[in-house]
Symmetry: C2
Subunit: 304 residues, 2 copies
Amino acid sequence: MSTSKPILVVGSAALDTLKTPFGDAEDALGGSSFYFSTAASLLAPVRLVAVVGTDFPREKIAFLDDRNVDMEGLETAEGSTFRWGGRYYRDPNKRDTLFTRLGVFEAFDPKIPEHFRQSPFVFLGNIHPALQLKVLDQIDNPELIVLDTMNFWIQGTPKELEAAISRTNVLIVNDEEAYELTNEHSLLDAAENLMKRGPKTVVVKKGQHGAVLFREDGDIFFAPAYPLRVVKDATGAGDTFAGGFIGYLASHDLNDPMVWRRAIIHGSVVASFVVEDFSMERTKDLIYDEIMERVKKFHDMTEF
Amino acid sequence: MSTSKPILVVGSAALDTLKTPFGDAEDALGGSSFYFSTAASLLAPVRLVAVVGTDFPREKIAFLDDRNVDMEGLETAEGSTFRWGGRYYRDPNKRDTLFTRLGVFEAFDPKIPEHFRQSPFVFLGNIHPALQLKVLDQIDNPELIVLDTMNFWIQGTPKELEAAISRTNVLIVNDEEAYELTNEHSLLDAAENLMKRGPKTVVVKKGQHGAVLFREDGDIFFAPAYPLRVVKDATGAGDTFAGGFIGYLASHDLNDPMVWRRAIIHGSVVASFVVEDFSMERTKDLIYDEIMERVKKFHDMTEF
């Protein structure tokens, strides 16, 4: 881990209220920046930029202090923390949003602290693409920029999103987003289309069907999802995947094609843990041996 | 191939009319028994039991004579051959049935020829489970019975289907069918549930998301689907998968767990070819070298 490079993450900070068949939770720690940091900090140092309101219960993120997460970029603004409410079902593909109260997140204007500007790895969480561009303007020569987005920005702010994608090295989307961004009908065509717009690497997440890595040199890698009996709370699975993925990249040689594949597996493993309990309950105490155990199972489940 | 054991297949024989964004086809060769035989006969001798009408154009199956398919069980009955019409879209997950004319298939009563009764491998194609049971009553000590079914029988004839499943060694279903048969919400729970009802092996097909092998000893194997730019005609993909899968099993040692995994890959490969053209156009001239080439690509796309 001594060779791990720092990762800058800019994203949301939220308190989530969840109703599920397995129980409820109120004002649980949420938001892409916290989900990402909890996962990535298992593998590399993390620098977090996000905004919370004056009502934010700081004790909820005390565990991140022990996990190599630099909180200097966590701004506290006058007002309420971003709150999201959702209902989950036994069918893990179903989810209803109950409410969205943006609070201080509505006026979020990410300011990158001086000593974060040289971060070699950058994760642009799922925020307004204009803000993602603003972040890119504040950083110096990063080695790798990874961008996440969602349907909301694909439909609402396509031009800004296109500009952000063009400055990105790795694009992470789910399969629906890949089709929507490209109007293609095969994942192969969609990924090739996206790689012509800037990113040399595209990662397509398919939820319970796993993830696919596409690289500009033609390399394709399929990873299944870890088979789980119960998905208790799927919130943050994508950001956790990104955390495991980039955390692994930040501590290994990017010139080795196998590193990219193993990064996908690490992302999938950490995401498989996070959905087994509410919020970050399962990942905040996760240890590397537990990750390695599931990485080994991924080997067992795919070799032939 | 000298050690390949014969496979008995009982299923439908049809003429399909297809409307697709890539062209149309009328009275193209179709039906589970022909799709299966075309695929399986690449790897093992096949014995076919099905029914066609007096209008059936025999020249359409001339290619099967050169492929080690014994047609003694192909009955010709007074009346019309089963005809099915379907429309496909650019989205390979969408399909509309335009018409279904059962013809002589409605009164299909499979009679297993004397010299087919000792077949070591048996594939019960997707027909009425009462007929599947009738087939099982006519065969002697098979090594392996594989059953395919569909939602129509799960809903319409659950008792007969349950009886047929209980006498089966391998059940092949798609993911929706697995959930519907078990009322479970995870594939793992669904497969374990199904393995308690008779079959020691369950294969779950997930279309473009691949296939999963579950075995009673706890072994789980995930195979992706071969990435294709265009799916021209998805008819018969499941029967072709079953043909490649069982064909491989029939020519290898069932005691080797890796044989089961490689059988899944062979099924996936042959299915990846069949959907690239209408009917059996692509698989009827397929050679083993082409299969091996894609098997190698499956290795490349999954190792890490």
